[in-house]
């Protein structure tokens, strides 16, 4: 089937199998391997993307569900070399270790900060509780989200 959607602002018209998972479409067909897969069953959050600005798990979505929607992946967050404030603060605050959860964490953070520009640490912990990290113990991720939120408020 042919599906039409935008990926990081670019129009896509693709012929793909109706049962193709979005994570496979992104990684295998479109070469967007920044979206990770770590469980395939919606338990870890590594494959988080934004669909119309709302965080979704791309391992639980089929390609047909993208019809007419706007998809943002980690590759769409920075403008070339210039990192998004969330990405910048993840790097600055040491929130990236192995980095396999990081793209999903950034996308979940983007969703959170749209809904709540001034979350406290507890709210951040709640918002990211669907995204597993095995390296950091979460602390520097929480630090990074706090710092990104402050910077984005200042810029707004």
């Amino acid at each position: 089937m042919i599906i039409h959607f935008t990926l990081n602002g670019e129009n896509k018209n693709l012929d793909c199998a109706p049962d193709c998972r979005v994570v496979d479409l992104l990684r295998e067909e479109l070469g967007h391997t920044g979206t990770k897969e770590a469980c395939g069953s919606g338990e870890c959050g590594a494959c988080t993307i934004l669909v119309d600005g709302i965080s979704k798990l791309s391992c639980l979505m089929l390609a047909a569900q993208l019809e007419g929607h706007a998809v943002t992946t980690i590759e769409g967050m920075s403008k070339g070399e210039e990192l998004h404030p969330i990405q910048k603060s993840f790097v600055e605050k040491g929130a990236v270790q192995c980095g396999f959860c990081s793209p999903g964490m950034v996308m979940a953070t983007a969703d959170l900060l749209q809904r709540n520009p001034s979350p406290d640490r507890k709210e951040i912990r709640e918002a990211l509780s669907g995204n597993l990290c095995r390296c950091t113990g979460y602390q520097k991720i929480i630090d990074a989200v706090e710092s990104a939120a402050a910077e984005m408020r200042d810029d707004a």
Partner: protein, 766 residues
């Protein structure tokens, strides 16, 4: 752009951050080469069975299936593993656990793959199986590996020190208990993955998520029957490892697949369920302790019996047992000791390396016993430890000589003066309704490196490029801990260059040099030492050449800084690119082999235990404190506050140091409280992240990390290994806090809500 200089001791930002956070860094799982085939395996349905026949007639010829392979297609020894080569790439005569790979399939897509795996028929003759290590040691137990003289005993031994058991007769107080320690699954986010192909020159090239590219190459040559120089292994950044990729996971299967793919690349990437079934775990085990002291609180005798279940194959079970035995007396001076250890084959999933490598299991027991003994003689738990811990020059109860930096006393003193300890009674007494609180501490140590019998060598290589930049050829894989970004900091310090003057190559057996594994708290210690000297040699060459070029008479009058060499008195300078142009390609490359020092002190361990790695020479130390609160209605434990004081020598990068401490403490909290990997009759019951519960951001507190900066003179810039000591103490610290809150110790972990609730009910009934 010139960034700031990179002095040791500052939080230089990790150079891998930007590419990882943009999603551009390619992990092994991220490669989809053109025209690739998927590879996957049919695994055993039985924990122990003879393979009587394999029927592939319904599979060969299926559209989309390119090859179906069995052990008969393997030209080499078909055995992998270090130090015991006992694990088949594909099972031949029999299977030894539910998960043993039997048939390898190459297919065009995953749908065809599923159909093919489903249609493979394997005829088994089921054999009696054994699942408990004590049962496996009994006379008449089913034997897994018939060729072994010790039957199911992989390795066993004893360490005797002083008078052993006789010493208990003169103890004033003795405490005894047996601890059941669970499996722990590494649960790295990137499951086992890689790609492979045979290039035009016949070289088998494997890119894999591996902690051990160099060892893999040797093992693959033996298993697949290829010359070592016809195999190339590349190790990109790993999506986590923690010991679970310390050795071959999919590499043998990938290599075999690529040899039968008609020249097409192959890809493997295990599902989470398959990863849980077939990857190694932390060894589950039983640890029986008896510890005695004098009435003044002087520890006098310890006996410890350790039984570890290594599962169907050895993996690193031998060295894990040796390390468990070495750490069994903790960081204490105990004059009399008897430590016995047994690492045993069973038909369970395979256990192997996991951060801490045997030390978490014994320290979990010992540090609870120490609390119980302190209570028994009515001595403060921290003072009891302070009275008995080692100083430099002492021996531990296991006869391990603390010949190098030894900072356990300052670790304990930092905890002693911290408000969490000073105000422990007040905090506990402030518990709200239906809440019970406790404060627990634990202290311990962790050896660095491979021990006395395996050369712990790194070969660093660094090149001055023709444009004046430098390229570091990392020899040790980076599984996320940041050892390779730290290479930039080390070389930057020596060469006076900012981070953006470096290119950092990840390990590749075709261009970097053999440097051992990313494990054993030795990555930055060993490779960093090698790199520091390699960079120093290169610096001398550059400065000498600058003198040759007329910049000055003596090298000491010159300053190497970002992109150039200055003459200090005249202020003249030469760009590094010009100096590079005057050097031959060979001169521009510097390499250095560093071998870590080993303990030469006589010891009392048997030869098998010594060969497996006993004893170490350089140790990290720590004391952890946990403030815990139990919900009396649900049994749930909340870790409210957590303090980790660590002596891992001088801190090279405070941010990376905190990453290790925080991440390790939380992984240890998972081991203590939630991670309950269940295996029954060889069958894994926890097969996904919904049933095997990892800590989430909601479950853990912020971790307070305080470093004790001893100077380890053998380490680069005074550092020593940090990656493992951090996971050794959360379990006993939390368990000791829980014991305070409940009024009794629980000897089986993890301390799940069910287990706590049952204990509370039992206590009320008494």
């Amino acid at each position: 752009m010139t960034g700031p200089l990179t002095p040791i001791g500052t939080s230089l930002k990790r150079t891998d951050g930007p590419s990882k956070i943009r999603g551009l860094e390619k992990y092994a799982a991220d490669y989809y080469p053109a025209n690739f085939l998927w590879a996957d395996v049919k695994r055993s349905d039985h924990p122990h069975a003879l393979i009587k026949g394999i029927d592939l007639s319904h599979v060969r010829g299926l559209p989309g299936v390119l090859a179906v392979l069995t052990h008969e297609d393997i030209k080499g020894a078909n055995r992998i593993g270090v130090p015991e080569m006992d694990q088949p790439v594909l099972a031949d005569q029999k299977v030894c656990y539910k998960g043993d790979p039997v048939v390898l399939v190459l297919a065009e897509n995953k749908a065809v793959m599923q159909e093919a795996l489903h249609k493979i028929e394997i005829d088994y003759e089921v054999l009696p199986a054994v699942f408990d290590p004590e049962d496996a040691l009994a006379e008449g137990a089913p034997v897994l590996h018939e060729n072994r003289s010790g039957k199911n005993l992989l390795i066993g031994g004893a360490i005797e020190h002083g008078n052993g058991m006789e010493a208990f007769q003169v103890c004033d107080a003795i405490v005894e208990a047996e601890f059941d320690l669970p499996y722990q699954e590494h649960a790295y986010l990137e499951t086992e993955a890689g790609i492979a192909c045979v290039d035009d020159e016949g070289v088998l090239e494997i890119t894999a998520s591996t902690q051990t590219p160099w060892r893999d190459r040797n093992e693959l040559a033996y298993a697949l029957g290829l010359p070592v120089d016809s195999i190339r292994v590349i190790a990109p950044y790993l999506g986590g490892g923690f010991g679970g990729k310390d050795g071959i996971t999919v590499q043998g299967l990938l290599g075999l697949a690529a040899l039968h793919s008609n020249g097409r690349p192959v890809k493997m990437w295990t599902s989470r369920e398959e990863s849980f079934l077939a990857s190694t775990k932390r060894h589950p085990g039983r640890v029986h302790y008896r510890v005695g002291c004098k009435e003044d609180g002087t520890l006098h005798a310890v006996s410890c019996r350790i039984v570890l279940d290594t599962g169907a194959y050895a993996s690193l079970g031998g060295p894990v047992l040796a390390l468990a035995m070495e750490h069994a007396a903790g960081a204490y001076r105990i004059p009399h000791a008897l430590v016995e250890g047994f690492c045993v084959y069973t038909n369970n999933p395979v256990s192997g390396a996991f951060r801490g490598f045997g030390a978490p299991q014994v320290l979990a027991g010992l540090e609870q016993i120490i609390d119980m003994l302190a209570d028994k003689i009515r001595m403060d738990r921290l003072e009891f430890r302070l009275k008995n811990v080692v100083s430099r020059g002492d021996e531990t109860g296991c006869g391990v000589w603390m010949s190098n930096s030894t900072g356990i006393i300052p670790c304990l003193e930092k905890v002693k003066e911290h408000p969490f300890w000073v105000q422990q009674e007040e905090w506990v007494n402030q518990a709200g309704p239906f809440k019970q609180r406790g404060v627990g501490i634990a202290a311990g140590l962790q050896g660095t490196g491979y021990g006395p019998m395996v050369a712990d060598i790194a070969n660093a290589k660094i090149e001055l490029l023709s444009d004046g930049h430098f390229r570091i050829y990392s020899g040790v894989a980076d599984m996320g801990q940041g050892n390779n970004p730290t290479n930039v900091q080390i070389a930057g310090e020596v060469l006076g260059q900012a981070a953006d003057y470096f290119e950092l190559l990840q390990p590749d057996t075709a261009c970097s040099l053999p440097s051992g594994s990313s494990s054993a708290s030795r990555t930055t210690y060993t490779f960093g030492n090698a790199l520091k000297t390699a960079a120093t040699i290169l610096k001398e060459r550059i400065l000498t050449r600058a003198c040759n070029m007329g910049l000055g008479i003596y090298a000491e009058d010159l300053l190497l800084s970002s992109g150039k060499v200055f003459h200090l008195t005249s202020g003249r300078e030469i760009p590094l690119a010009n100096i590079a142009a005057s050097m031959s390609p060979e001169e521009r490359i510097s390499s250095y082999a560093y071998t870590a020092p080993v303990a030469k002190h006589p010891d009392s361990a048997g030869s098998a235990i010594r060969a497996a790695g006993f004893p170490h020479r350089v140790f990290a130390f720590a004391c952890h404190l946990a403030r815990v609160e139990i919900d009396a209605l649900t049994g749930e434990v909340e870790v409210c506050d957590y303090l980790a004081v660590t002596d891992a020598g001088r801190v090279l990068n405070p941010q990376i140091y905190e990453q290790q401490v925080q991440g390790g403490a939380v992984q240890g909290m998972g081991y203590a409280l939630w991670e309950d990997f269940r295996v029954e009759n060889g069958e894994v019951l926890t097969r996904n992240l919904a049933s095997y519960i990892l800590p989430t951001s909601m479950d853990v507190p912020d971790i307070l990390s305080l470093p004790v900066e001893t100077v380890e003179e053998t380490g680069p810039f005074g550092m020593k290994g940090l990656g493992e000591i951090v996971i050794n103490l959360p379990l006993p610290a939390i368990a000791n806090g829980v014991a305070w809150a409940l009024g009794r110790h629980i000897f089986t972990s993890p301390l799940t809500a069910e287990r706590i609730l049952l204990t509370m009910e039992k206590r009320q009934a008494e």
